[in-house]
Symmetry: C4
Subunit: 128 residues, 4 copies
């Protein structure tokens, strides 16, 4: 991380990746997804920390969103330092070196159905 954009974080408390999917992949995969928009002129280095219900948080997930670019990725794509298990409650926190706009979305396709939800994250000032 070059530096933090102040002390702001974007947090998502409701993480849960269903183990079951149905329908054509990759569009119809059950997934938790994070979308980050970087409208600034400099790259945004993002640090992600994953919180669990009954074990210590895991930090160190790093991705970059280049200047004037959008990036959308599945939570399952975060595998370093280690993959987030399916079927487990988790929360995610993002920190960024540049101002970004962050959205979370969830798609459930279990049992041949389709459920979709999305939420804009708002940055909050929280001590980490």
């Amino acid at each position: 991380m070059k530096k933090n954009w102040g002390k702001k974080i974007w947090g998502f408390p409701g993480g849960f990746i269903p183990a079951e999917s149905s329908g054509k992949e990759p569009e119809m995969l059950s997934k938790d997804e994070i979308s980050i928009l970087n409208t600034s002129q400099k790259d945004a280095d993002i640090l992600i920390t994953i919180y669990y219900a009954d074990r210590d948080p895991v930090s160190g997930y790093k991705i970059t969103v280049k200047a004037e670019r959008v990036r959308q990725f599945r939570i399952n794509d975060l595998i370093d330092p280690h993959a987030i298990p399916l079927g487990v409650q988790y929360g995610a926190v993002l920190q960024s070196s540049a101002p970004v706009i962050v959205q979370w979305s969830k798609q459930i396709t279990s049992e041949g159905k389709l459920g979709l939800m999305g939420a804009m994250a708002y940055p909050v000032d929280v001590d980490l």
Copy 2:
């Protein structure tokens, strides 16, 4: 409650738990769910008050979200001082002894379908 985090509350006006579910349980249960992320170094004591359309609010529901942990629970899991009835309009308000991030989600699985919605709560300064 040790103390309030200022006078902030997180409120959810749109509570309603359908009596009917379909599909495999527990994943496909119709439910209202609250997710709380505590990124701080101290436990967060949460006090929940349930508001109804035509009767007095019921307070005294207490849960703890440990330091650096996430907690997700169904509204139906709140049974002390008494369970929230199915099929009744309600609203919920959370107060916390430590800064937390709060999300609400709703899943309806009636009639073999799947509807999903979620919303990030933002803390507001309201007198209680």
Copy 3:
């Protein structure tokens, strides 16, 4: 209206009530719904104005949310001064005499399906 709570309004731009529903009523009706939570000790008098794409706004819809109560109602229940037509784009703005928390939700049940979405409204300072 007794008085405005400052100059704050809650606005919903994405109103549209599908004419078609399927499934058991009233739970499975296609609907736009507003949920209001009044945690204060005094009644909240709510004034609603409906905006359209191609005609003048219609104001004068009034409802009361009693002290320490929640109220959830379908947009279609607003019939005075006149009902909101189905299948027409609209937006809604709420003003309140007391601080409240407001949520919007939409349920589409056309063609035997179920789509659900919800959003917390945040109060904004806009001149009316």
Copy 4:
């Protein structure tokens, strides 16, 4: 653009228009939609910029939301300077000459299903 409303923007990071739809059109089309409510007494000139994952942003999309009117449109309706491709990740940023309230919604109807999500955008102060 007459002028910017301060330096505020409304941003949507999670854009993606599925190529596949099912069900009766136009109601059941897969779509990303933006809804804008202009409660002010003057027209709002909106400038939209589309950001991509791997190419430069495209700006210059202009629409007007008349005074005291709502406007809802599909992202696909933006064709000048050029149409937004289906099946591609994108983000959108809105700037406005007058204060407005902005919502994003997404409808997926692939494979005979229905998924719906919506999010209120909040204005942020970001350098462009």
